[in-house]
Structures are given as C-alpha cells and as structure tokens.
C-alpha cells in the first residue's frame, strides 16, 4: 500500500507522517512538496497512479508557500487595479515574524488550489484521500463551518452574521444585547487575530494576542505571545477594522468552565470516528491556545471535576461534529463546557489539528493512528 503526502517536507508534520508509515512496515511515503505543487513542477499522473492513500498536510510555516498561495488568492480579486497593486506588494514582502496580513487571500488561494486538486483526484477514483479537499476548505472557513454545523444540529456558540467593521460590530452587539464577544479572523488559526471583547456602557476592554504597531507609514498588526489588553476604543476599533478586511467571525463569549488552574476547554482529535486523543487546555486568560504560555491539564482531574458523563458527552459532541464533515478521516475539534456546566459547544474544527506529539493511545500517536485507520479503510475497499 502506497501513501502520498502533500506537505512542506522540512516541516515536522511531514516527518511525523513519514515515520508513522515507516513504523507500519509500509513502503516509503511519496512526498510531494507544496513549493513544487505551486510551481507546477509535479507530474500528477505519475503520482496519483502510484497512490493508494493521500494525506493533504498543512502548508504552514513556509513563507514561500504562503506567498504563492496569497498571490493565487489575490488573482481571484475582481478589482483589477487593486489586484495589481496588491500583487506588487505581495511580491516585495519580506518575512516578518508574526505579521497578520492577507489571511483572506491565503484562504482563497488555498481553497482554489484544493478545488484544482479535487478535479485531478476525480480522474483517480481509486485514490483514497484521508481528508478530502472539500472538508479541509470547509474547516478552514470558520463562518461556513459554523453554518454547516448549525445546519446539522451540532451545538455551536451563537455567532453574528457577517460583520463588516467595528461600527457594524457594535450595532449588531447592541441589537442582540450582547456585551461580550470573541472576534476572530475568519480564516485564522492559533489564536491569530482573536480578540476577547467586552463592553459595558462607555467602558471597553479587548484581551488579545494581537499587537498593534502604529508607524509613520501606517498600522501593522502582529501576533504576540504576550496577550495584551486594550481599553482605548480607538485602538480597538482600528484593530477590528483592519481585521474585518480579511473577514471576521464574531461569536458570543460564553464563560468557560473553570478548574483550579483557570478556564479550560478540550482539544479532541477524532480519528476514524473515535475521539481517542484529548488535550485539556487551561488558561488564566480568555485564550486557551497552548502556545500562549498556557498549560495542559490532566484528563483525570477534569473528569473528576465535571464527572464522566459530561466528559463523555463532550467527546460525543466532537465525534458527531466530525461525522457531519464530508469525507474526513481525522480532525481536531475544540469543545467548550460553559461555566455552569450546562451547555457544551463546538468552538472550531481544525483539519490539521492532529499535531499532538508524544500523546499516545494504545501505544500509537495521532499520526500512527491516522495511518492505521487509513490502512483499514483501504483494505476494506480492496
């Protein structure tokens, strides 16, 4: 059985997968690099003829790939003069650690490429994709995914319809009677471009990993590892107006359940219909993302706190959510339990959310488990 992965070969994600396939005693993985793909230097016929199972891995952490996808997305922009200006800008960009920009173009470019890939795959029905291009595109688009889950009766945090700027946000919040919301980049990940915003009369407070830098040449936004607090409305409006150009999703800020170590939510990796991998993310801040200095909690402590029934039902919710996605072998699902333990919601779903190194279940890590599931799926079809 032959596995193929489309990935950035230098990235640890690719290496984990290659190792997992090797550990399963299978022939070496055929590695297709995103750079080659986006430079049209890939002979798809040869590759897909020689593929039984295909994994589409994250394109992240590679600036060249990022730039190519952004350029591709930018070419979808209907206003030609704007497109040309942006193209020039994108080509001259140098890598800036943590800069937040072009997330919409990035999504559009990637989604466009995924559609392309699907067309190629249509000619090779024998190739099994672990996660389908359609599923990956859906998970990437938070608003679309939110709507998808709503349509499938999966409990999601209430969200506002499209928000175009800060003024619009405040008007919609007032209309709903909401004082607390999470503002997120619609195509963002890893708490990039996320603000926990609350207002009360003329008071306003945004807790965020976004760093606002004002220079003579304009305003820049960065992801900061140090979560900041803004209480100045004009700064907050400025940040939100910039982010809104890349599309937003705005959700009600539901207070999360707390343990002694702060609020917590669960990242549950569902593989082949089984929610076998869980990470408890705990935080003293509204964002629970582990790279922001937050700690992993232990499953045992949370099970004891909320009871095994609630723990189980959170896992059922994650599993059900993934079941509704089109042809999806694995996904990382973030679920939250409300502070009074009464409500549970899917926060978001991540097509590349199975990167949990060193977390083992029955001696298998997530990559080994996905390989095992893909093998079983392939055998069942033979």
């Amino acid at each position: 059985m032959q596995f193929t992965i489309i990935a950035n070969p230098e990235n640890r994600r690719c290496q984990y997968f290659v190792e997992a396939v090797h550990a399963a005693g299978l022939p070496p993985v055929q590695v297709v690099s995103y750079v080659d793909v986006l430079n049209n230097q890939v002979d798809w016929d040869t590759i897909l003829t020689n593929t039984d199972s295909l994994r589409i891995e994250s394109f992240g952490e590679n600036f060249e790939v990022w730039r190519k996808l952004v350029l591709r997305g930018n070419r979808i922009e209907p206003d030609l003069s704007q497109q040309i200006t942006a193209e020039h800008e994108i080509k001259s960009l140098v890598f800036e650690q943590g800069r937040i920009q072009y997330s919409k173009q990035l999504y559009q470019g990637y989604q466009h490429w995924l559609q392309d890939l699907q067309q190629k795959l249509d000619a090779y029905p024998a190739v099994q994709v672990m996660n389908s291009p359609k599923s990956i595109a859906l998970m990437f688009d938070k608003m679309a995914c939110h709507q998808h889950f709503s349509n499938h009766q999966i409990s999601v945090v209430p969200a506002l319809p499209r928000v175009v700027n800060y003024t619009d946000l405040r008007q919609q919040m007032t209309a709903k009677g909401w004082n607390r919301v999470f503002v997120k980049l619609n195509y963002g990940s890893s708490a990039s471009g996320v603000l926990a915003l609350r207002v009360n009369g003329d008071k306003i407070q945004a807790t965020t990993s976004v760093e606002l830098i004002k220079t003579l040449h304009g305003v820049k936004l960065y992801n900061s590892l140090q979560v900041k607090q803004y209480t100045n409305e004009s700064d907050i409006a400025l940040i939100i107006d910039i982010l809104a150009q890349e599309d937003l999703i705005v959700e009600k800020w539901i207070p999360k359940a707390t343990s002694e170590d702060g609020i917590f939510d669960l990242r549950i990796v569902v593989i082949d219909g089984k929610p076998d991998y869980t990470v408890v993310r705990q935080s003293q801040l509204p964002m629970t993302n582990l790279h922001l200095g937050n700690k992993r909690g232990t499953a045992k402590a949370i099970q004891e706190l909320i009871g095994i029934e609630k723990w189980q039902s959170l896992h059922d919710l994650a599993t059900q959510a993934v079941q509704t996605l089109p042809n999806t072998l694995y996904a990382g699902v973030d679920v939250l339990l409300s502070s009074n333990y009464k409500q549970q919601y899917v926060l978001e779903t991540n097509a590349f959310g199975d990167l949990l190194p060193h977390v083992l279940r029955d001696d298998l890590d997530t990559y080994q488990a996905t390989v095992k599931a893909a093998i079983a799926r392939w055998k069942a079809n033979q």
Binding site: Q205, E260, I263, S283, S339, K342
Partner: protein
C-alpha cells in the same frame, strides 16, 4: 487577571452549582447561585427562593452567590433584599461568598455592586463574609458581633468603604482581608485611610485581629513604610501584602522594621523585589512567601495583578 477560577471550596465546604430541579441533596455543600447562561431572567432569585423553601435548608451553613446578571450589569440589590427579608430562616448561616465571579464572567472592576449593609445587619451570627466587586460597594455600619472573617475583593476600593471599615465595631474579627486595587479601577484612598482600617477611629478597634491582608495594592510600598513601629504588628500573626506591586522600596521598609520579626507569616507573593532584597528578607527569620517575583520587567510594564 487573577480571578480565573470559580471557588471549589468556601468556608471549608465544597462548592457546587445549585440545581433548581434537585434542590438540596447535601446540606454540607456550599451551593452556588448564578445566572443560568442563556436561561431565564431572574434565575438567581428563583433558585434562591427554591433553596430557602427546601426542607433541608435549616441544615445549610454556607452558600455562594456567583455571577448574578448575564449581559447587563444589574445591581445585586434584589438578591440582598430577598435574603434580608428571609432573615428569620437564615440565622444558622455561617458563611456567605457574595460574588464568586471569574475574570471570564465579568471584569472585577466592572462588577456593579451596592451596599450590603441590609444583609450584614440581618445576620448577626454570620461568621464569614466574602464579597467581590468594588463599584458602588458599601458594607454599612459594620457593627457585627459574629463576624470573624471579612474579605473584600475589588479592582479598586473606594475611600468611603475604607472609612466604614475604620469605624467598624467587629469584636470577634480575626481576619481582615482587603483587596485595594488601583486608582484606574476605583481605588480612591490614601495610605492614611488604608491604615485607619486596622488602626480604627476608636480605642480597641478589631481587638481579635490575627490576620491582616492589604492585598492587590498599587500603593503597597507606602503601606509597607507606614507599618514602621505600628502596634498592629505586636498582635497579629500574619501580614499579607501579596498580589500588589511591592518593590525594593517596600522590601527595605519591611526589612528595617524590627516589629516584622514578631510575625509568624509574611505573605509577599507576586511582587517586584530584586534578588538582593529578596535574600535579605529571607534572612529575617520570618516565614515568608516571595513567590511570583517579577524582576525582569521595566517599571512601565508593572501591573497590579487584579485590576483588570
């Protein structure tokens, strides 16, 4: 941003959210009443009524009020009134935590509070009272026989509240814990007004005091200096100046204060003391907590841990 977790224990009892359908299943639990998120309005009032009518209520000793309003920051007056009206039923209550509200549920400096005098006056046998949220908070005359422990947690404490504590008559109070906060969030006292809270305006103020906490303060350096030769240090066991912005200035004042050695415990957790001064304080021979030292940051980045 310190109130990141809800209480798991209060006054020695486990805390659990009250379930309006089940009622009191175990009177040894400190039940918590908080808004039912996305649920009906006045849920807390409704649940409290159910609680008060429960046949097992007479065995209850402690309870907790959590976030009392969902989106709009209403005053907790209706809850205080309800409890005061039912005072005949509440005489066996030992402890109340009014405002178990996390950072997620509401910013401490945004909690709309009011005077709690009506409740404190109604419950002369109450032993432990903890309240969170300083906007509009008052405690009244504070002439109270039973009270042993008073904890007031604010992002910024008003001078009117400090004055109430200074004029209090609390003969059995052993534990006074005031989270003073920052001027930006409503702290409006002077160091003299803070000192008056434990020195009092009359003789024999807080005669039973054993623990003094002046926590989460941005003027803690001045408080440390003002404690020089203060007679309070002759009679308390624990001084708690934690969660503030104590720097080497305050550390030096404490070090040069011979009365500090009378203490059994000095809590300076979360501070801005340098390695040198931390070492000197450690050599005093008093049990001291110097954890969460922030030595790297520049002065501009200093912050009061609870404020916002």
């Amino acid at each position: 941003m310190s109130f990141s977790s809800n209480a798991t224990y209060f006054n020695g009892q486990k805390v659990e959210d009250f379930n309006i359908e089940k009622g009191i299943s175990n009177p040894a639990i400190a039940y918590r009443f908080r808004t039912d998120y996305d649920g009906e309005q006045d849920y807390v009032i409704k649940a409290l009524n159910r609680f008060l009518e429960d046949p097992k209520f007479s065995q209850v000793q402690n309870f907790v009020i959590g976030m009392w309003s969902d989106e709009h920051d209403d005053s907790p007056s209706p809850i205080l009134e309800l409890l005061a009206t039912n005072k005949a039923k509440l005489q066996q209550i030992k402890g109340i935590f009014f405002g178990d509200i996390t950072y997620e549920e509401n910013e401490v400096s945004w909690i709309e509070n009011t005077s709690h005098a009506v409740l404190l006056e109604a419950l002369p046998a109450l032993e432990v009272y903890q309240v969170r949220g300083g906007n509009g908070l008052l405690l009244g005359k504070l002439h109270h026989q039973g009270l042993k422990k008073l904890i007031v947690q604010t992002g910024g404490m008003g001078s009117d509240l400090l004055a109430e504590v200074a004029q209090a008559d609390l003969p059995n109070l052993t534990h006074l814990e005031l989270w003073l906060g920052a001027e930006n969030y409503g702290f409006s006292g002077t160091v003299e007004q803070v000192m008056a809270t434990y020195r009092g305006t009359k003789a024999n103020h807080l005669p039973a005091l054993n623990y003094l906490g002046l926590r989460n303060s941005e003027i803690v350096d001045k408080i440390a200096a003002a404690l020089k030769d203060d007679p309070i240090l002759e009679r308390i066991e624990t001084l708690d100046l934690s969660k503030g912005v104590l720097s080497d200035v305050g550390a030096e004042a404490l070090f040069d204060n011979p009365s500090i050695k009378n203490l059994k415990k000095l809590n300076l957790q979360h501070n801005y003391i340098s390695d040198d001064w931390a070492e000197k304080l450690n050599d005093l021979g008093v049990k001291i907590d110097l954890s969460e030292r922030n030595t790297e940051e520049e002065e501009d980045y200093r912050y009061v841990e609870v404020g916002e």
